[in-house]
Amino acid sequence: MTGYAVRRLLGLVPVLATAVVLTFVANQFVPGDPIMTLLSDRSGDAALEARLRAEYGLDRPLWRQFASYVGGILRGDFGLSFRFASTPVIDVIAPGLLVTPVLAVGALALAVPAGVALGTCAALRRNRAADTLVVVGLVVGTSVPSFALAAFLVYVLGIRLGVLPVAGWGSLAQTVLPVTLLAVSPVAYIARLSRTYMLEVLQQDYIRTARAKGLRPRLVVYRHALRNTLVPLLTTIGIVFGGLLSGTFVIETLFNIPGLGRMAIQAIFARDYPVTMAIVLLFTFFYAATNLAVDLLYGVIDPRIRLGRRGAA
């Protein structure tokens, strides 16, 4: 198990290294000269310009800039913002660090139970009306992007009925629509898989045995079937989390939520690429860490994995 964990951990190195190189290269593509942009109307001030260039390290050769970029990231320092002079990127994005996780975790906490419940219900009533309804809902849920769905939900709940606030961040009511919309696609995805897994598990011999020995149907489902569908579902949590991170860009922009996703997009327009790239790095690190954690957890739960027989799963 330890050997497997170490191998997987080492496998992260090329991925994270690529992410660091990619974001450094992307930073070089910022339109115009960031120092001249910062100076704006004081662009004639040569002394100030030289001071800023030295402070941002832009007077050094590219390879030295890269070395200090990598060194900074290892210490949790993402450099300086191109929009707010002499302000560390980490200070610019700090407020968002408290917002986006709330959104993502809230949506995940909503999506997993709702998805499993919907999928299980549909599987138990296969080809009946409830199943058909769920399956149709899943097609819509996986197909329609959150911002298109938002137009309808915000119009009906926020404007026509006026029961929920349509934008902003801070109160509990303001989190309802964003978290729900962020959860729609993961709910549909999880429900779809858990329906498939449940249908498969229900055909297994041990389910027939459990039924044959006269166990109540409810117990068969909860004690024997459901547990075994949760194991393969666990592997999808990484993908779901990646989708949630991507979803925050849209949802935060949509509802004017001061989180990392909206900051990353706004920073592109403000030519503050270091902020965008710091957030891209953070999200990539989180995503890789989640996938690693899921893989290791899966190894703990399913011994076939840690013995290295991947194909057997």
């Binding site: 593509f29 329609v144 137009a151 991507s246 860009f249 592109i268 790239m277």
Partner: protein, 299 residues
Amino acid sequence: MTAVPVRAVAEPAGGGAPGVTARREFWARFRRNRNAALGAALVAAVVVAAVVGPWLSPAGYEDTDLRAVWAAPSPAHLLGGDALGRDILARLVVGARVSLLVAGSVLALTLTVGTAAGMAAGYFGGGLDAALMRLCDIVFAFPDLILAIVVAAMLGPGTRTVIVALAIVWWPGIARLTRSLTLSLRAELFVDAAIVSGTRPATILLRHVLPNVVPALIVRASIGVGFIVMAEATLSFLGIGVQEPLPTWGGMIRDGLVALRTEPYLALSASAALAVTIVGFNLLGDGLRDLLDPRVRAR
């Protein structure tokens, strides 16, 4: 994967008399598959709107009419007007054209690059295979929208950026699929026969491997279209995709949401158009998979 399903996949693509039967059987099953038929109908409606719509539309998508600023639907403007008094219906149908053209370009790029890379990796193996697959792993390591955002930041917003960004995100999936199919085909007798008779690798790949990979690629592509349409709309919604004056559904939804309280037609109609298109492609894709994939068919 064993050799048998590969031959079964190849069936519908075969020519001659057996092909005719297979094709007839395919259409018979297609008509019985209600989801696929519904999906095909929705997709056909969108395609017709994209092709014929802009040509039938009395107003151009760039024409501003001050009397139609945020106008309600009327005989002159069937879905009303937007903030600049542009006809929403005219912009919707041109938006369909933009959406489909972007998706088509991304598909063409990813299929070309992904198939070539996948066949080369699977056939030649060795260092080339290892290098290409590591490259795929790296792309897979990023949540796809995040990679697209980085590319958009580097190249600057625009139609070409969207196409390049989505192609970068999508080709590894095609390459992996093609590689695994090529690996199993590589073990087939007819490939060995071609090798011993002195056929060049390029000819083997194009004449013997490619035709057997195509059906699986068609299924993969048809499932992918919906996601590509959604990704393009998402980038355009965020403002880093296709730019004005070209209308896109994502951009129209963004503009419409701002005025949703008083002028809901723009956001709601563009959202509906986007939803119908993606649902259509996904239903069609799922249906085609059920019809063409022997592993699913057997169940």
